[in-house]
Symmetry: none
Subunit: 223 residues, 4 copies
Amino acid sequence: MSWDFDAVERSLAEWVGRGDPEDPRERARRRILAAATEHFVRHGYRKASVDDIARQAGVAKGTVYLHFKSKADLLLHAVALEKSRYLERMRPVFDAALPPRERLRTFLDLAFGLAGEMPLISRLTRGDADFQHVFADLDPGIRARMEEDQVGFARWILDPIAAERGWSEAELGDRARMLVGLLGGVSALVGNAGRLGLSAARSAALLVESLVEGLAPSRKDPE
Amino acid sequence: MSWDFDAVERSLAEWVGRGDPEDPRERARRRILAAATEHFVRHGYRKASVDDIARQAGVAKGTVYLHFKSKADLLLHAVALEKSRYLERMRPVFDAALPPRERLRTFLDLAFGLAGEMPLISRLTRGDADFQHVFADLDPGIRARMEEDQVGFARWILDPIAAERGWSEAELGDRARMLVGLLGGVSALVGNAGRLGLSAARSAALLVESLVEGLAPSRKDPE
Amino acid sequence: MSWDFDAVERSLAEWVGRGDPEDPRERARRRILAAATEHFVRHGYRKASVDDIARQAGVAKGTVYLHFKSKADLLLHAVALEKSRYLERMRPVFDAALPPRERLRTFLDLAFGLAGEMPLISRLTRGDADFQHVFADLDPGIRARMEEDQVGFARWILDPIAAERGWSEAELGDRARMLVGLLGGVSALVGNAGRLGLSAARSAALLVESLVEGLAPSRKDPE
Amino acid sequence: MSWDFDAVERSLAEWVGRGDPEDPRERARRRILAAATEHFVRHGYRKASVDDIARQAGVAKGTVYLHFKSKADLLLHAVALEKSRYLERMRPVFDAALPPRERLRTFLDLAFGLAGEMPLISRLTRGDADFQHVFADLDPGIRARMEEDQVGFARWILDPIAAERGWSEAELGDRARMLVGLLGGVSALVGNAGRLGLSAARSAALLVESLVEGLAPSRKDPE
DNA sequence: GATGAATGAGATTTCATTCAT
DNA sequence: GATGAATGAAATCTCATTCAT
């Protein structure tokens, strides 16, 4: 593997902090996190009430505060959990045998295709104000760092293609940043397209199709 | 002109309702709308407080309610105002002399390039839950209709290209919907890229570049 | 005449303060008072809004404050106006030729029968909290004095009957106070009976009938 | 027993919902209800503030909303509680051994004598606009039904007397409605007389005396 | 004198967080 | 460790009153 996959995984592990899945305490923790995720996604941060989350998790409100020290903390952990699952699904991208263009396509397929399954991250990258405030209050700049991680990742993916197409360092960087920025938009795309009667898979595939052909066209100009 | 530009413009005019810009009353109304837009963008709908909006507009809380009958009404008018500005900027797309591919590029340039200047519409198309609730409370289905309008518009733009490239009706429709869905994502892209040090214009241009080449490649496959 | 009819009339005159009924200013004043009365009756003191009253009177809100220095003042004058009309209608009771029992019956007929036409006084004597606060804020004890006036009146009416039936001073006083207290209840009776399908006139007549026969029975027990 | 005493008692029980009087939670509930009753009586519905009620009950504002879902709900329960107490005190009227005239007198003694102890019901039957709106919002027509219940009750009381005195059905009905309407006025009577220095008991007794003798005179006309 | 836009105190209600049991 | 009743800050909206025009 490469890029800093392992470092990211380790830093997430701190947050995800899995205990014994048989431990009733741990089970309650996970139920709370699952309920919180659902409510945050469905109603947004502010409108999601701790009371409802607790009720859905089958615990009392006070119990939530035994596991998480605030509503914001709950969001932070829910996001970390989602992120660790996301990373897990991204594994195929790191297959050393993958040719550069295949790696790019695999990355985009996964990144866009998973958008619907990663609703919290989507909201965060989409720029949800409440979510951002929660992160900013905890640690100003944390979001920037998270995004820089992603840019590094995208850069690593695009690097061989940059060489091939003769992009300058700056051009490579810009395209990496554009891609990362776009990730935030994909969940909106998927959600909107869904309302318009276009399946998530189809809309993601169409976007990938359009982008890849432009980013790394397989056809040569006729001489 | 074509598509239903004028009908949309007329229906917006009702909401925007401009008075004499010298009239102090009208000036206050605009200051309130500007302040509201800023707060809604910065803090989201729920967290934006009428009190703060009033303070920033330099009026008392009660005055806001003289101009707008509720906080929701404030959002509705702020969105309508933004939309009318958006439409104004879209005018070049309707230039009859424009060849199809140029029209598409102009449309995308504007649609993506303006995303940063249309923060409320962006939020709405991005699927902000609070915003949607406000619109849904006013008139269930209004968002669906707004999006159908946009699909019709995108379809009108893509139509000549579909003919040229031999897309079926269904393929044309899917791409139109994908594009409209993507609009919602572009503001996230722009916002995110901005944080990453990529200007709004540059990130939009890069996305357009990638998309257009894919959607309507100027190069032919070598025979 | 007797009792202090004239003194009461004079003291009301100060409040009622009629000007020239042709004077447009005076006409506006009366329209305001009429509108206020209607709103106070229909919605109570608090819920009646000065804005609505002004609108119904066909003047601007500020104009109300040119004529009356506060909402409370508006109520005070509306009540005084009603009271002066009430007194006018009570005139027949003072006919010197009236035998005592007839005088009592006339008094009760009028007092109860007019309840429906004197809605503000009714509310006040019924003990409406808002109304009472308005009076109390103006002048603590004013209501007590108003009621003492009425007791004096009732006492004057009952006096000959007390002599005939051998009531002590105390018994006379108690009955006078009971009657005055009852006046407050009659408007409630009339309103309630109305909702139950009993006309105001009929319900008042039935009450008078019952009361008079008990207070001054015309039949003697057989020896 | 007869009339529909038990049905009414059962329907009230739902609202009153007594718990263990030792339970601190239940104690707080009762303190809130008592405080609310006092404030509603003293200041009317609108001016009684939830904040003041909470303060007087010795709890925080939020606690009121744990027990009652709105200010209106608070009024509803306070009225139901009063009504159940009222019904309890009315029991003697249902004594089967009571001769008709005694039953009427007992009913009036209680109905009028208790008016001072049933301030909320009094306000409601007196026609307080705010109170009525609260009930009407809950269930349009509820007041009409409550009053019809009372008319049925009064009719049951008067029925034997009607037979004896030869009243037609219509005359019986009218007198029953008059009496029910009057009940609304009695609290005003009692309150007013109280301010005039006449005890509640005495004023009620005097009214009963006057009414009963008229409604059912024990003396015969000499032939 | 008349107007009506502006003000801001005050009302009800929600809900994250604490803490005695 | 778990509970859930209690808290009170903060939000939206109303409306009597003032005052520049």
